[in-house]
């Protein structure tokens, strides 16, 4: 049989049973659409996290007190413990490293902020004037913390956009005195609204000088030191120099963990990439189910068309021709389902992007290709058994069936 004839024959045969064909195409399209949409969600989550981490700042090296055993970074060893403090003096000492452009120590705790009878829980970040540059943040109003001695601090605070709205409403916030914990601070600046953010959202953050935060939380140690290297290629030297300086200052003991932004990014990339893969696998199960449906529908088709198969044999069709015709039908139905599902999936992903503009829900190319290929492959694979059954029918018995 010629290829165009084969395709036309299979198309007509499929068109002869619209309900059966429609159900099969629908099942296959749901499977493919599930793959497209779920991988769009998974990969969207990965891109979203990547974007958020990239916006932390550039060429960042992060110093944590305590030593983790593994070389790489994983979220579990972000929480470390050590008997020796990582102090503001340590942070200042790191400025001697040639690969370091600037750095900002960070102390974090929760406290209460109150103004004019209004009170709320806030996250307090104690840091220095360099923080805004290291993190590449933007101010909406006023100024950031003043440069000065890191060991002391003026009672000034920079508040997040959301805190400003909740505490002051339409009133001006700059120059007002607020109470944070049991101390009074003067508001000197308001951070620009950053919208979404991971972990520490500056919208709900109050930033005060590091020394005052340490006093407030009664601690000597720093939560982090955020270091900006002089360039991308200086990240590794900076890491080594930082480790060396801290080791010298801590009686020869390496009791800090130095991680780079790239390492964190790579880890999350891997983590969320694996998640996407897993989600794609789950979606692929629906494709396998659709494949079984293809088999079922084709078996019914063979049974219903027994007399026709007998006739085709009588008219000189070889077993191979009949097998090919049924396989072509299964493949065409799978292809139609796959294409429809692709369209549905892309439409679904587009709707998600419309509803959540911050979320880049684009299905990755590999998932789309794998989804379409799997659909076609399962369709053909599960079409083999019915096709073989059709080809093996005894023509005499097949013809006697009406």
């Amino acid at each position: 049989m010629r290829l165009p004839d084969l395709i036309r024959f299979a198309r007509d045969a499929a068109g002869g049973a619209p309900l059966r064909t429609g159900l099969l195409v629908l099942a296959m399209s749901i499977g493919v659409a599930a793959v497209v949409i779920l991988t769009a969600l998974g990969d969207g989550a990965r891109r979203y996290v990547m974007n958020e981490f990239s916006s932390l700042g550039s060429n960042l090296v992060i110093v944590l007190p305590g030593r983790s055993q593994t070389g790489g970074f994983n979220p579990g060893n972000a929480v470390t413990s050590t008997p020796r403090d990582l102090t503001i003096a340590d942070a200042q000492a790191l400025l001697r490293a040639p690969a370091v452009r600037r750095l900002a120590p960070l102390v974090v705790g929760t406290s209460e902020i109150s103004f004019g009878g209004r009170l709320r829980q806030v996250m307090v970040a104690g840091t220095t004037a360099e923080y805004i540059e290291v993190r590449s943040l933007k101010l909406a109003q006023g100024r950031f913390l003043a440069h000065g001695d890191w060991g002391r601090g003026v009672a000034e605070a920079v508040i997040g956009a959301r805190i400003r709205d909740e505490l002051f409403g339409v009133e001006p916030a700059l120059g007002r005195l607020v109470r944070i914990g049991d101390r009074r601070f003067r508001v000197v600046g308001v951070m620009a609204a950053s919208g979404q953010g991971l972990g520490m959202n500056t919208d709900e953050l109050v930033i005060v000088p590091a020394a005052l935060a340490q006093a407030m939380f009664n601690t000597n140690t720093l939560f982090r030191i955020l270091v900006e290297a002089t360039g991308r290629e200086a990240i590794e030297p900076a890491k080594r120099q930082i480790a060396e300086i801290v080791r010298l200052r801590h009686d020869g003991e390496e009791d800090v963990t130095v991680i780079t932004q790239d390492a964190v990014l790579a880890t999350f990339d891997r983590l969320l990439g694996t998640l996407t893969l897993g989600v794609a696998g789950i979606a692929a199960i629906s494709l396998a189910v659709a494949g079984i449906l293809v088999m079922n529908v084709m078996l019914v088709s063979v049974t219903q068309r027994t007399a026709e198969i007998g006739l085709l044999k009588a008219l000189g069709a070889s077993a191979g021709t009949i097998r090919t015709a049924f396989l072509a039908e299964a493949a065409m139905l799978s292809l139609a389902g796959a294409l429809l599902g692709y369209g549905l999936g892309q439409a679904g992903a587009a709707i998600i992007r419309q509803l959540y503009p911050a979320f880049p829900a684009w299905p990755p190319d590999w998932a789309v290709i794998a989804g379409l290929a799997t659909a076609l492959l399962t369709g053909i694979l599960f079409g083999v058994l019915p096709a073989r059954r059709a080809a093996r029918l005894d023509p005499v018995q097949a013809l006697s069936r009406r």
Partner: protein, 233 residues
């Protein structure tokens, strides 16, 4: 034909066909020997269960004998593979069935073209031959009608057109008038006889004595054996 003029078109020798139904064996055909020359008009008659349909299926290569040899145009076709037999069916044998066996979703023209489509003949030649067949069988204005839009006589004419489109040497007709009224039946028989007059070997299975009587040679089957052959009587 390729065989020498003296050799018969169809030569059956010692054909046996046994069906096993549970523990019992049913001898559908017992040592059947028949020679049919090219261009003959043969009726196979007998009561139901006499083995005449089994014989027709064997002649059409839809079934294999358990013993004996079947030579078609001098070639032993019993030992051919299934695909080779399909090829022989395609090129040499045309079937006409009692219940027409048209493909319901295909138009009359497509049904007629089906054997050529299966054989992979080029569309242009197919179209030309189908157009000729539609003219020959008076179906020109029924070309695009599907079988359920045709009368019984028209359906059987489509089926005959399909059986002859590959220009076979043999036409096997199984009760070709069984589902038709007397007038249309006669029309169909005359059509088949015209083909025979043009040189096609025509083998008709029937239990209708009137139809069988029109053939130049009658074979009477009974209980799996050939009881009477008018050519030898």
């Amino acid at each position: 034909m390729t065989a020498a003029a003296s050799a018969p078109l169809i030569a059956l020798a010692g054909i046996e066909r046994v069906f096993r139904l549970g523990d019992s064996e049913v001898h559908a055909l017992r040592r059947v020997d028949i020679d049919i020359a090219a261009g003959e008009y043969v009726a196979i008659m007998g009561p139901s269960g006499s083995g005449k349909s089994t014989l027709l299926n064997l002649l059409g290569l839809l079934d294999r004998p358990d013993a004996g040899t079947y030579r078609l145009a001098g070639r032993d076709v019993t030992t051919l593979s299934a695909d080779e037999q399909a090829r022989v069916r395609s090129e040499r044998i045309g079937f006409v069935f009692q219940s027409f066996h048209l493909v319901p979703r295909l138009s009359a023209a497509e049904n007629i073209a089906l054997p050529m489509t299966l054989a992979g003949i080029a569309p242009a030649e197919r179209a030309a031959r189908v157009a000729q067949a539609l003219r020959d069988y008076g179906l020109e204005n029924r070309a695009d009608h599907r079988p359920d839009q045709l009368s019984g006589g028209q359906r059987q004419r489509v089926a005959i057109a399909r059986a002859t489109i590959m220009q076979p040497a043999v036409i096997l007709a199984d009760e070709p008038t069984g589902n038709l009224d007397r007038a249309t039946g006669d029309e169909v028989v005359r059509l088949l006889e015209t083909l025979n007059a043009q040189g096609v070997t025509l083998i008709v299975v029937t239990h209708d004595a009137a139809l069988g009587g029109r053939a130049r040679r009658q074979l009477r089957m009974e209980d799996g054996s050939l009881q009477h052959d008018s050519a030898r009587a």
